[in-house]
């Protein structure tokens, strides 16, 4: 037992898992707003992140735009894309079963993937930004991951405050409870959906900024973390920002420790199994309140 506790590699793995959890938490935040709070399923969410990553890469690498400007433009691009997605694709079927929204955005998933392949080809693109690492004892932690972790902490707090303390935040939470009664209460639903889609898209863009620093960009990158982000939102309890945050870390630790003891794929397998089992034990999510 003591050997396990003093194994520095194990500790490094656990802390790396925590930092990876920060990335996942940030990615799942926008989805938690869209899927969890207003109950609209963007199955193409990860592809929106991919578009943001390509936008940042395209501005920064071939066009030489300064990185902060490129990132800001990336966030705005994805926010705009979120609005377009809602008003062009989802609005015509907003009042049908949610499964239809899932399927229609699945079409968008293929479209964005195809478009990315067509425009940027299947080559891996990289920003080539290295921010160095922090050394603690014998352990190395890259700054980019620490930055992602801190950003996700700030973003989750800011989103929580926005939803709880502002008028429009309250309206966003209210529209998920009854789409038909809200207009009677004097709130324009299209304004709410406009705000939420833009905000959800913007958060996807924020995720894209950090993901672009960490990983190479390619058209299929969405499929590699998309399912994970969805399951995190469901596991945390839909609309529960704190639950989604914790679930992100649970998933990340499964993957990190799985990678440490066997292979990364087995970590993912265990995380998915954990999800399936938890769905049957607590179908409302880990930390759900009565809704």
């Amino acid at each position: 037992m003591t050997e396990i506790l003093t194994d520095p590699f194990l500790w490094e793995t656990i802390i790396q898992g925590l930092l990876f959890g920060g990335v996942l938490a940030l990615l799942s935040l926008g989805l938690n707003l869209i899927f969890g709070v207003i109950d609209v399923v963007w199955i193409c969410y990860a592809e929106l992140v991919m578009v943001g990553m390509y936008a940042i890469w395209w501005l920064y690498v071939p066009n030489g735009v300064p990185l902060p400007v490129a990132m800001l433009t990336g966030i705005l691009t994805v926010a705009l894309l979120g609005v377009i997605l809602h008003f062009v694709v989802i609005r015509p079927i907003l009042h049908t079963e949610p499964i239809n929204q899932l399927l229609v955005t699945g079409g968008v998933l293929f479209f964005l993937q195809g478009a990315a392949t067509l425009v940027f080809s299947v080559e891996f693109r990289t920003l080539g930004v290295f921010m160095g690492s922090v050394e603690v004892g014998n352990m190395m932690f890259p700054w980019t991951r620490i930055l992602a972790f801190l950003t996700s902490l700030v973003a989750v707090a800011a989103l929580w405050l926005f939803l709880k303390k502002t008028y429009i935040g309250t309206a966003i939470r209210a529209i998920s409870q009854d789409r038909e009664v809200m207009p009677l209460m004097g709130v324009s639903p299209s304004r709410i959906y406009l705000t939420t889609s833009a905000l959800g898209g913007g958060l996807a863009g924020l995720g894209a900024c950090l993901l672009a620093l960490l990983y190479d960009i390619h058209p299929a990158i969405g499929l590699s973390f998309g399912p994970l982000v969805f399951l995190i939102c469901v596991l945390g309890g839909l609309g529960n920002l704190f639950g989604g945050f914790v679930a992100a870390f649970i998933f990340a630790e499964f993957i990190a420790l799985g990678g440490y003891y066997t292979e990364v794929e087995w970590g993912y397998v265990m995380a998915f199994f954990f999800f399936i089992v938890m769905m049957f034990i607590r179908p409302q999510g880990l930390f759900s309140r009565a809704r």
Binding site: L102, G106, G107, F110, G114, V122, M279, F280, P283
Partner: protein, 348 residues
């Protein structure tokens, strides 16, 4: 359309299909025809449960279990596909029931069901990749071939070098798939499930054993899809985790079935024809230099289909020609303008 003309149309259609290999001299076209029938079978298997609002994104897992189960038993234990296929199908049915039972019991429906089954599809793909010592990982695997120029047919290994043989085998399986569809369509299961997909509590109170009949269609659907996966492996003699399992193949199954029309017998097959024709046409006209265009067009088509033609091509045509269709034929997916009753997921 009365039953006499319907029967004669079916007979003419089948005769045309039987004669097809003699007319299609081209090996490539025959291959496309085989793929259409094979995927048509798999899509039909999915739609047997999909039409009742049980939209599964996990069928990639079942196709994968069928394909890999059969191939692994053959490559590593030398077990003939005649035993391997039933074993793989049984495993897939067991997996389908193991996921289905808690879902149906706890009323996980709609998009939550889709997400749970999506996790299953990913688990299967990742497990196939992770067991790379056996399965060859993401590089895929080839069933050990016993064929040679002197020995073009092996019944024991279920390997045939002639596409004509494969065409007839898969045609027969596809016809059996349609017969199963018709049997479900004419059974009480169908009415029970259509009632349950509208109002589960009301259906249960009228004596519909909802969980039980949902499990029955799940088992049928899992069996057909895994069987299709096994045939795919035997025919192509190459499988890899991306082409037979995972989220991409699951979405492909769902979308093709929707495009063709998942509420009518020939709909899923027409979906297979449409999607394969689209992919092949774009591939041959636009060429290999322009990647991604086919996926883009496919994506736009799906969006348009789901918004404007949720019954799919065949469903819409059938509704146009056959105005006698009663309320039973306008099931769940067409509940436009109707509010979802209660929350989509009722926690136990």
């Amino acid at each position: 359309m009365n039953s006499l003309t319907s029967n004669s149309l079916q007979a003419i259609g089948l005769a045309a299909l039987l004669a097809a290999p003699f007319v299609i001299a081209n090996d490539y076209l025959l291959h496309i025809a085989i793929m259409m029938l094979l995927w048509g079978l798999i899509y039909t298997g999915w739609a047997i449960m999909g039409r009742f609002g049980l939209v599964s994104l996990g069928h990639g897992a079942l196709v994968g279990i069928g394909a890999y189960g059969t191939t692994m038993l053959w490559n590593h234990a030398g077990i003939t596909p005649w035993i391997g296929i039933p074993v793989a199908v049984a495993v897939a049915v067991a997996v389908g029931l193991a996921i289905g039972f808690p879902c149906f019991r706890f009323r996980i429906t709609g998009h939550y069901f889709a997400l749970v089954t999506l996790a299953l599809a990913e688990v299967t793909r990742l497990m196939i990749v992770a067991m790379r010592d056996w399965t060859g990982g993401s590089l895929g695997v080839t069933p050990n071939s016993v064929l040679s120029p002197d020995n073009p047919v092996s019944l024991y290994a279920l390997q045939f070098s002639s596409r004509h043989v494969w065409f007839y085998i898969i045609l027969a399986c596809w016809v059996v798939g349609l017969i199963i569809w018709r049997a479900v369509d004419r059974s009480m299961i169908r009415y029970g499930l259509e009632a349950a997909s509208e109002q589960e509590d009301a259906a249960a109170s009228l004596g519909v054993r909802v969980t039980r009949i949902k499990l029955i269609v799940t088992a049928i659907s899992a069996a057909i899809c895994s069987f299709g996966g096994a045939l795919y492996g035997q025919y192509q003699l190459y499988i890899n985790p991306e082409t037979v399992s995972g989220i991409a193949i699951s979405l492909q199954i769902v979308f093709a079935a929707i495009a063709g029309g998942m509420f009518v017998k020939l709909g899923p097959t027409v979906g297979a024809i449409i999607t394969l024709l689209l992919a092949e046409t774009l591939r041959t006209t636009v060429g290999h230099d322009v990647h991604g265009l086919d996926v883009m067009v496919y994506g736009i088509m799906l969006v348009l289909f789901i918004i404007y033609m949720p019954r799919g091509v065949v469903g819409t045509l059938a509704a146009l020609f056959d105005s006698r269709r009663d309320a039973f034929d306008a099931p769940t997916r067409n509940k436009a303008k109707k509010r979802p009753a209660g929350s989509a997921r009722t926690p136990a």
